[in-house]
């Protein structure tokens, strides 16, 4: 009996060891097959496209044909060697190419939020290994960072948590002289109230939380937050599992500030929110599009990226900005205190924000893109993508929807109040 078990353990160890070895060895597969992006729009259209998704044929380099906005013609610093990512994407040259001694870069980022091609190209062009740890909520990220002891170089906080992190001395200031890429940005997304002067953050992607609905099943379509309380929507909605946004939206329907700290106002919001609960089938802050596409729900509250993907899967799904004002948000790059690979950080930021690199966001993760250089590049070189982006009210937000929008801010002491309301209202089922 013992001999057998011994043998088994030895065998299992051998099998597993071989799996490990193949894992290490097989990781460097560079077969030029498809890049399996979750939201790929066919990357065709436009003459000299650099992203042939098939094998790396001789394709004219991209950097030189950039739409002539802010990108200076590339220097020959990297020897003009053509570098490709694992998917076959031809990597643009870094412009400017910085002098970097660090060998690694530690990113702590949202799950599935950075195009693989962007990472691959950076690694190859600068010969820096990128380590990526991921989180699925700002709170997880905050818990880890505030406890200290981590060696991350960059994080991606959303606007409402930035002020808290600054207060807690968790972020360090950018050296703006090292960020020539700053001029790529659309000023609408710069200098926002949560970080005036962009001392601690620079924009990554922006988005809006608004109403999504399936027009084939929901008629007449909702136009305001208040509409969501209609009894005919009972059990048909998906909502974000976000106490601040949901309670904030309720406060808006009552005419209050969505960031109020007034307990009396919050009490009213609680009472009103309790009436909304029967309409909600599930709360999902991770992948609300799933329930929409699967037909589990017909409408709900969700954000830009999810709405776009849902619409792609089912064109009957529409996005509408409510009358009372939608919830705006923005994800940003920030440097935690104690980051060690400073030169790699700036190399990454400048490279990834290049127009001929950052346009990949349009292809892979459809949010509101604050990088004007990327949009300009796409206008000339990725017209299909660009037209899709500009043609959708989800990614191309109408200006008055943007103006009417509200931002969630940190409420300090009142946060447990919000959480208590949330627990009570949800737990009452």
């Amino acid at each position: 009996m013992k001999k057998r078990l011994f043998l088994w353990k030895g065998l299992a160890a051998l099998v597993v060891l071989s799996l490990m070895l193949t894992a290490c060895g097989g990781g460097s597969a560079t077969t030029p097959a498809t890049s399996n992006q979750p939201s790929t729009a066919p990357a065709g259209g436009g003459a000299p496209t650099a992203t042939t998704v098939k094998a790396a044929t001789a394709v004219p380099p991209t950097a030189a044909s950039a739409g002539g906005t802010t990108n200076v013609p590339p220097t020959a610093s990297s020897g003009g060697v053509k570098v490709t990512a694992a998917s076959g994407f031809l990597c643009p040259q870094p412009n400017p190419k910085l002098n970097v001694t660090s060998k690694e870069l530690n990113l702590f980022v949202w799950t599935e939020y950075i195009p693989q091609d962007m990472l691959d190209c950076f690694e190859k062009v600068y010969n820096i290994k990128v380590n990526r740890d991921e989180y699925s909520s700002n709170e997880e990220m905050y818990a880890k960072i505030s406890a200290g002891g981590t060696n991350y170089d960059l994080v991606q906080p959303t606007d409402y948590i930035v002020s808290l992190m600054i207060r807690q001395n968790l972020l360090q200031k950018f050296d703006q002289t090292k960020l020539p890429a700053l001029k790529n940005y659309n000023p609408t997304y710069m200098n926002l109230p949560f970080d005036p002067g962009n001392q601690y953050t620079i924009p990554y992607q922006a988005g809006v939380d608004a109403i999504v609905y399936n027009e084939k099943k929901v008629n007449p379509p909702p136009t305001s937050w208040e509409d969501l309380w209609k009894p005919e929507y009972a059990g048909r909605m998906v909502f974000l599992d976000d106490s601040r946004v949901t309670i904030g939206m309720t406060l808006l329907t009552l005419g209050f500030d969505p960031n109020t700290k007034d307990p009396a106002q919050l009490d009213q919001a609680k009472a009103k929110l309790a009436k909304l609960i029967p309409n909600i089938k599930l709360f999902d802050s991770d992948s609300p599009k799933t329930a929409l596409i699967a037909g589990d729900v017909d409408l709900g509250l969700t954000w830009t990226g999810e709405a776009f993907l849902a619409q792609q899967a089912n064109p009957a799904i529409k996005f509408v900005y409510p009358k009372e004002g939608a919830m705006l948000w923005q994800d940003n790059w920030a440097i935690p205190t104690g980051a060690s690979h400073t030169d790699a950080i700036y190399a990454w930021l400048n490279y990834s924000l290049q127009g001929d690199v950052f346009w990949l966001m349009l292809r892979d993760f459809p949010y509101i893109n604050p990088d004007q250089a990327a949009l300009d590049y796409a206008k000339t070189n990725q017209q299909d993508l660009y037209n899709k982006y500009m043609g959708s009210n989800i990614t191309n937000v109408p200006p008055d929807a943007f103006k009417n929008g509200h931002r969630i801010t940190d409420v300090g002491d009142a946060l447990p109040l919000y959480d208590k309301i949330w627990t009570e209202v949800k737990g009452s089922k």
Binding site: K2, W8, G27, T34, T111, A143, G149, N151, D286
Partner: protein
Amino acid sequence: MNPNKRAPHVILLTILVYFFLYAPIFVLVTYSFNASKTNIVFTGVITQFGDLKLVDGNVMQSPCGPFHWFCELGKNQEVMNAAKNTLVIAFISTFSATVIGTLAALALQRYNFKLKTFSEVALYIPIVIPEIVMGIGILTLFSQIFSYLNNSFGLSGDGRLGLGLTTVILSHITFSIPFVTLVVRARLQGFDQSFEEAAMDLGANEVVTFWRVTLPMLLPGVLSGALMAFTLSLDDFVITFFTNGPGSTTLPIYVYGLLRRIITPQVNALSTVWILVIFLAVFLLQWLQNREVRS
């Protein structure tokens, strides 16, 4: 003989329960051949090699045909790295916890010493503590220690102490030890000490006796404990999340994050591979057993 041995209702219930245990596994494996990128609905097995027209109208190039998601998996560096980390952590923590736990079981079962009750209570705690409390507690502790050490020794840059593979392994050992101790101790309770006494009488000292008499007899219990520690480490999410650092992502954390945002059949493919490996090991064992019986 026991009249209950071949009772039909027992067999029926057994089959039903096995079915219940394996239905989700079957679904997982089937979906790993799903001809759909979003993997929300099963749209059919991928049938062609080459271009495949998906339900939503997009075209997916699948040179690997039905095994498309397995190929994608092979190219996914993140998953491979996470799998490697998971196994490394599991093996090291299992080995350490088994050794430490076995020693502890011996101590508690056969000796009396002042801290005995304290040890027994302490070993009970990881079983009743909510994982998140342990995770955050350990995180806070490590952070304080690291910041103190970093400041005292002036460490900076890549030399800084921080969370990583080591901290994860240490916390895994911590929650595994009680289970190993429990199992080994159980085994020790019915233990016949006459063999050890005989060995000692024949002149062997304590260490030799332990190594050549006690341990072999104890081995089934030790291995069971090791198995349990391995399983616990392999699947751990909460504690690992709070104690890992750059580059030490494990499979459960990667999968959890991935499943929450993008649902792709790649994860199913991973599960399928995993299950295949385990079944392989089981069949190999059976085959070896049969050979042993015959010879």
